[in-house]
Amino acid sequence: MSDKPKLAMYWAASCGGCEISVLNIGDKILIVDDVFDLAFFPCIADFKHSHVEGYPDGYIDVCLFNGAIRTSDNEEMAKLLRQKSKILVAYGSCAYEGCIPALSNLTTKDDTFNTVYFDNQTIDNPDRVVPLVETQVPEGTLTLPSFYNTVKSLDQVVDVDYYLPGCPPEPEQIWAVLEVVVNALLNEGPLPPAGSIVGAGIVAVCEECPLEKNVKSITQFYRPYEIQPEPGLCLLEQGLVCVGPATRSGCGALCPQVGMGCRGCYGPLDGVEDQGAKMLSAIASVVTVGASGEDEHELEEKINAVMDTLADPSGTFYRFSMAHSLLGRVRAENNGKNGGKVK
């Protein structure tokens, strides 16, 4: 092998979109190929677990790790790649803060299994087969990774050097980060301080959003299919939930510009621990029902009526940041070890 720096990219609990986003940097991928040797990249090249195990510690210069930690296999790979990598990047929202996989922290493993293997309309499972960690067959014992009750972000299982948010990260942001890394590796250029969030802005998505903003005064929320938003006008003002006020910029406000409220994939702003709580605050501030001087009970009823139109607040406000939320997961009956039973 040449003495070029080594690049790795691995997927844990993810959709594969992050891998595609790397290819999305266009012809610059050729520069990446010029500069780096691939050391591990299961999506596009044939590498085995044993190859990585055989590398000396710190052999990989940069590892882009995407996907959340859902199974014991994800965790094992995270630990292995941490050991073999100089720079470990939590790439994309899943590795950074849990993203869509971590929404299952709103339920339990057993409920997830019941839905996936029994209750879905399209499931026909008369023998009630579910995956087991160990299965006895005549030839011996077959094993599968164990499935956790709680989905974690990468930094909840290993130390992470940098976070690159986004679902998926935007190409120009990815390239900007790769440039810094390449410059550091080849010309000993400066690297950002460890633990930094790279490839993203420091202001809210609203700052980047070109939609016209006036006074926000909401008396009813709509789901995206219920109304046709007025073009050019702030979506939140029109009653469509947009998580832009509580979300870090860096994407260029792509979603609001096509009529879909910001989903929140770039995560919370600096100094905010809990994106959902901040969004809750923002939403409560723009609901203008009820004024001082009204009867206390009437006031409560009026506000309740508005909040009734807001579907699934936890899933909406924590769509991408469940694993990094303050409370981490929901509390189910006898949470954890003895929680419900697979039917």
Partner: protein, 161 residues
Amino acid sequence: MNEQFEPVIVGFLCNWCSYRAADLAGTSRTKYAPNMRAIRVMCSGRVDPQFVLKALLEGADGVMIAGCHPGECHYVEGNIKALRRYILLKRMLKQWGIEEQRVQLVWASASEGNLLAEAVDRMTEEVRALGPLQWRETVLGGNGHKPVETAEVEAELEEVS
């Protein structure tokens, strides 16, 4: 030994009404449950939902937010904002499996020391009946964000390697 469970309740009291109500309860020597730990904030509208979640994460069994009656806010509408947040937060906490008695919003003016004392007494009993929350221990496992079953998996991994 069968000791009674003493809930820890974090109370965010507004400077202008509820904190003074607590002061009044004190100077009037009103007896009430010692379970509420008072934190003075300038307005109930200052209470960020993050404060509530953090209190629950860090070991509180309940959180009380207390402010001026609607219409009497020192900052005109701060308490209405608090009410809107609280109503939405309550819906969210329900999804998180947290009983609604654990987070309560109370209106108490500066002259209502007795009312605040009653509310603290009532809430203490309600939370006592629910039992300890112990979020880190029971929901997340011993090490904060480390989930309950990690220890088991670690043992498994050790066996494999």
